[in-house]
């Protein structure tokens, strides 16, 4: 069992030694992740976990990977992607250039989904997809565009539910239990580490997607990050969140109008 104040101690170690600031992450979720890691890596006590993190910088990498959640899938929430396909992306189509930011992109499944949508709408050639995450290991996976073959059945079903009508298998080649997505999809992707807690805005975007990332933050940090997104969105740009995330607690909400039932907001002021 780990107590709340022990977590506080661990978080201040991480910040002082390595500059990672998890202090405004959701406590309930962090505690679960830390307990899970203690059990996976068989730490008999909190003190031993703390000692390992302080004395072994290579273990830090594992800690960050396991504490942050990297569950994702292609065309996650197909209805959401249908709205992107039929409403959001067509309304950006008249722009000479489309900039999209996937904040907290994890292993990149949703970035490749976006590239497929843009390709099918004939917009990919004039788009740039910035994909960022705080975790360099998942970004390396995203950059390669290689995903486990067993997941592709689900992804293909999601693709069809989202309104896709092409042969999904034409987008990748399968090889030894893995698939690699076509290079033309990744040509317009730019991968970079970016920590939503500590890094600033770096461009102006037409669409920002940050799905199932804010749920791991407390309300104060959510507000900070939503303001960062607001600063980074051009007028009439779109902000897309996860299916149970909301702008309703944020001071930026008044400047946005929600699109029907999806968690997509348009900046109107």
């Amino acid at each position: 069992m780990i107590e709340e104040d022990e977590i506080t101690i661990l978080l201040s170690d991480l910040f002082e030694l390595y500059g990672y600031d998890f202090t405004n992450y959701s406590k309930a979720s962090l505690k679960r992740r830390i307990l899970r890691l203690c059990s996976l890596d068989k730490f008999p006590s909190f003190a031993e976990l703390r000692y390992r993190i302080k004395s072994d910088p290579t273990y830090l990498q594992r800690f960050v990977e396991e504490i942050t959640v990297n569950v994702t899938e292609m065309f996650r929430d197909p209805q959401f992607y249908k709205t992107l396909r039929t409403e959001v992306l067509p309304s950006l189509g008249s722009k000479p250039f489309i900039r999209i930011w996937h904040a907290g992109c994890s292993t990149g499944e949703e970035v490749y989904s976006m590239a497929i949508l843009l390709k099918e709408l004939n917009l990919l050639h004039k788009s740039l997809l910035y994909a960022t995450d705080l975790n360099p290991t998942v970004l390396e996976k995203a950059r390669k565009g290689i995903f486990p073959l067993p997941h592709l059945k689900q992804y293909s079903e999601n693709y069809i539910l989202s309104g896709g009508i092409q042969d999904f298998s034409s987008y990748y080649t399968a090889h030894y239990g893995q698939v690699k997505f076509r290079e033309e999809l990744s040509e317009k992707m730019i991968f970079s580490t970016h920590n939503l807690v500590s890094d600033r805005s770096f461009n102006e975007f037409d669409l920002i997607l940050c799905r199932n990332v804010l749920i791991y933050f407390d309300k104060d940090l959510q507000e900070t990050v939503l303001r960062l997104f607001d600063e980074s969105l051009g007028s009439l740009g779109y902000l897309a969140l996860g299916s149970k995330e909301t702008l309703k607690f944020s001071s930026v909400a008044a400047q946005y109008r929600q699109l029907n039932r999806e968690k997509i907001w348009r900046k109107i002021h």
């Binding site: 406590k27 309930a28 679960r32 959640v69 309300k219 959510q222 299916s243 149970k244 995330e245 309703k248």
Partner: protein, 193 residues
């Protein structure tokens, strides 16, 4: 430490279930007294493709305010909260909900164990954990955590459950205070203050 939005002695009832539990809840909900002096959280295993219709379905059976949880919603007495599909449902010390889309637990997301354990952590001895019908072992570890925190544990009587495995598993492997039919459960919950 932030002020709790509920009185510390305020009870939290968490009902967890799987196969056969929707029918059981459709029987229970009309029998619950309004206003309800505690907060009620319902966590059910369900297909991720099903959207928010569960809250709408249950709302036809009760006048108690009922809704599916969104991230950071506040937990208040007199309300029924439904865990959304495909997220684990956690509770912060400040008594607001936190959602978590991490790996499945017991092949399930939401997992009953995850919410039971989180409730035990935040509401301690003021937690009542109820395990209904189901065909797997999720929930038993969570009820153990509630018991350890000084809370109270209830299992649906396996003979009244469409799928008896889940409540029976808890009865065999942990300490259960009451084994109730759905009518007995309604009477018990109505007696809470």
């Amino acid at each position: 430490m932030a002020e709790n939005s509920l009185n510390p002695s305020q009870k939290l009832v968490v009902i967890g279930g799987s196969m056969g539990s929707i029918d059981a809840l459709m029987k229970l909900l009309p029998n619950l007294k309004v206003p309800m002096p505690f907060a009620l959280v319902i966590v059910l295993h369900r297909k991720s493709s099903v959207d928010s219709t569960l809250a709408d379905l249950f709302a036809t059976r009760t006048r108690i305010p009922i809704r599916e949880v969104e991230d950071k919603d506040t937990l208040e007495k007199g309300n029924i909260y439904i865990a959304p599909a495909d997220y684990h449902l956690l509770i912060e010390q400040e008594r607001i909900f936190a959602l978590d889309a991490s790996e499945k637990v017991n092949y399930s997301r939401p997992s009953l164990d995850v919410t039971f354990e989180s409730a035990a952590d935040t509401f301690g001895s003021a937690t009542v954990g109820v395990l209904l019908s189901g065909a797997n072992a999720d929930g038993t570890a969570g009820l153990t955590a509630i018991k350890k925190a000084g809370g109270l544990t209830i299992a649906q009587h396996p003979e009244t459950a469409q799928a008896p495995f889940m409540p029976q598993h808890a009865i065999t492997h942990t300490v259960i205070d009451y084994i109730f039919s759905m009518d007995e459960l309604a009477a018990y919950l109505n007696s809470l203050s």
